[in-house]
């Protein structure tokens, strides 16, 4: 189900917790599974649960509770835009509108070529850098004015 490399990474996470608390690694393990698969299909969640020796329903609870897990397929790149108040005051909402217009999609939609999914995110803890967006849960992009957004889109192939 998961590659040896992913399993190795999960094992390193398990080692952070007391031996009888393997379930503590579930958030990291789901994130690793998502990174490998591109999203979290039910089978991956179940696999992670079994790997950690926890009931699958408990892993489903975690996967559905935290909003950075993708329970449906997303584009090759997922761009989450922060539109919360501090970002909104400095153009976060406008940046979202600009992206929607450029890509021809709304939030929670994917471009026809499957390249980009657009999401509205919640506070990313980087309000001083507004507008901010995150690509694939990993890369934070700061001060995203129209030129910067154009540059980012040109780079995402």
């Amino acid at each position: 189900m998961l590659t040896a490399e992913s399993l190795q990474r999960i094992d390193r996470e398990i080692a952070k917790y007391p031996p009888d608390q393997k379930q503590s690694a579930v958030m990291a393990a789901l994130a690793i599974a998502q990174e490998e698969k591109g999203w979290l299909p039910n089978e991956a969640i179940e696999f992670v649960a079994n790997y950690l020796g926890m009931p699958p329903i408990a892993a489903f609870e975690v996967a559905t509770f935290y909003n950075m897990y993708d329970l449906k397929p997303v584009g090759k790149y997922k761009i989450s835009v922060c539109t919360n108040l501090p970002c909104m005051l400095s153009g976060g909402v406008d940046a979202g509108k600009y992206l929607k217009k450029k890509l021809g999609i709304e939030y929670n939609e994917t471009t026809a070529d499957g390249l980009i999914t657009l999401k509205e995110g919640e506070c990313m803890g980087a309000c001083g850098d507004a507008p901010v967006m995150i690509v694939n849960n990993r890369r934070m992009c700061s001060w995203m004015n129209p030129e910067q957004i154009d540059k980012l889109l040109a780079e995402l192939k």
């Binding site: 952070k16 917790y17 007391p18 608390q21 379930q23 503590s24 690694a25 579930v26 958030m27 990291a28 789901l30 994130a31 950690l52 926890m54 408990a58 609870e61 975690v62 509770f65 935290y66 909003n67 950075m68 897990y69 539109t83 919360n84 108040l85 501090p86 909104m88 005051l89 400095s90 153009g91 976060g92 909402v93 406008d94 940046a95 509108k97 600009y98 217009k101 995110g121 919640e122 506070c123 990313m124 803890g125 980087a126 309000c127 001083g128 850098d129 507004a130 507008p131 995150i134 849960n137 990993r138 890369r139 934070m140 004015n145 129209p146």
Partner: protein, 442 residues
């Protein structure tokens, strides 16, 4: 560099340059000397806690609870496992100081946690890092590896016989995990739903063991307190408000960013440090302590000093020190609509008043903003907030209610105008210009 200015700083001294976060640089500026001295002198645990008490350091995450007192709640003679946990799940809109502390000075957090662990007899710690800041999480892991290799965490630290293992736990997008018991549930690999208290974490915390949770900036302040002495640290601020603090300034200012200033510094000074108001527009209102804190109108805010007591007198909270600045281009209904959406989205769903109430608050503010407000909507908002507050397990319900109450109280005319005229008092093009995003029309 997003730490843009300081007055008499402690936390942000010497953080310029790409390598300032590395162990070697931290040691060069005096890092780990406090931990070293405590271990070498075999200092009594109670003496460490007393020093922190003397400093009147108050929790930097939002609640402002005295740190030394919190530490003294831990059962020191408890024979089993005990934990210290760092709350770096910084997701309160407006707050972005812990991210910079972890980015530029991660070892101060590690040293602070090690000292805390020593003082409370804890053998293990976790730093819970906000899901959205993956790059910062990776850096913290690297800093941990440096500290481990240098014998500053792990077994028999600096030959003292004191053991302390420390790990990083990466969140994955849930504001509620900033609530300390939700955070513990999350580390245990569960949904982040707050626990009913009591029992408090000091008696029943992570894995049911005694646990103390402090904010990132709180831990980062500990080495400075131990080096300076509690009293000098206190004097750097003002009575009952010890030390300096990082303020995250966002919104309609020319230089949004983090600023370290002594507690008690006038708001006007902080605003000036942040480059003043954008495009010379006038200050309309300010949320002084993160999105959960009540909004304060301009005139009142200009009279405040930045400390727990002054902001509390103005009817708000210093909270996490997140200062959201709004100028005259801001529509207060729209601003509140976005905040209410946030709490609706982030309510964990455990308590009915919060789960249902936050949805009501958002829907009512949304319809006012979009021209469908009803004449009794303001009374309805008031009634929903009073039915949420004090009726939930954690403070998220209160946090969702306080913005609503304060926005409606201070800007009632603007809400009434929206309801009566089905449009905004602030012209749309003025609002649009406010964000400064569009230089050309799109």
């Amino acid at each position: 560099m997003a730490i843009l200015g300081a007055i008499n700083p402690m936390l942000t001294v010497g953080l310029e340059g790409d390598k300032a976060w590395r162990l070697a640089d931290y040691v060069k500026r005096g890092g780990y000397s406090a931990l070293r001295r405590i271990l070498e002198q075999n200092m009594a645990q109670g003496d460490v806690i007393n020093e922190v008490k003397k400093s009147v350091l108050r929790g930097r995450g939002g609640a402002g609870f005295p740190t030394g007192l919190k530490w003294s709640f831990m059962p020191r003679s408890f024979p089993g496992d005990k934990y210290v946990v760092c709350n770096s799940d910084e997701g309160e809109p407006g707050t972005f100081k812990d991210r910079d502390i972890l980015r530029y000075d991660p070892h101060s957090v590690i040293e602070g946690m090690a000292i805390a662990a020593y003082a409370m007899g804890a053998g293990r710690g976790y730093n819970y890092i906000h899901g959205e800041i993956w790059e910062i999480y990776q850096r913290f892991e690297e800093a941990l590896a440096e500290a481990r290799a240098a014998g500053l965490i792990g077994k028999n630290i600096l030959g003292s016989g004191f053991d302390f293992e420390l790990f990083a736990h990466h969140g994955y997008g849930a504001y509620i995990c900033g609530e300390e018991t939700a955070l513990l549930e999350s580390i245990e690999g569960k949904k982040g739903q707050p626990r009913f208290k009591p029992p408090f974490p000091a008696s029943f915390g992570l894995y049911g063991k005694p646990t103390t949770i402090n904010n990132t900036e709180t831990f980062a302040s500990i080495p400075y307190i131990m080096n300076l002495g509690g009293e000098s640290y206190l004097n750097a601020g003002k009575p009952n408000n010890g030390g300096t603090k990082l303020f995250s300034v966002s919104g309609h200012v020319n230089r949004p960013g983090n600023y370290e200033i002594p507690l008690g510094t006038p708001f006007a000074t902080l605003l000036e440090m942040a480059g003043g108001m954008r495009a010379g527009r006038k200050l309309k209102a300010c949320i002084p302590g993160g999105s959960s804190a009540p909004v304060v109108p301009a005139a009142m805010m200009m009279d405040c000093t930045m400390d727990y007591d002054s902001i509390s007198k103005a009817g708000s909270m210093l909270g996490s020190g997140a200062v959201i600045v709004m100028d005259e281009s801001t529509c207060m209904v729209r601003a509140l609509e976005r905040l209410s959406f946030f709490y609706y989205e982030e309510s964990c769903g455990q308590c009915t008043p919060c789960r249902e109430g936050t949805s009501w608050l958002y829907k009512v503010v949304h319809r006012i903003e979009h021209g469908h407000g009803r004449s009794d909507d303001l009374a309805l908002l008031e009634s929903v907030t009073t039915n949420i507050m004090g009726r939930t397990i954690c403070a998220l319900g209160d946090a969702a209610s306080m913005p609503v109450q304060s926005f409606v109280k201070h800007f009632r005319d603007e809400f009434a105008y929206h309801i009566d005229n089905k449009k905004c008092l602030v012209p749309v093009d003025v609002q649009r210009a406010g964000s400064g995003f569009f230089t050309a029309t799109v």
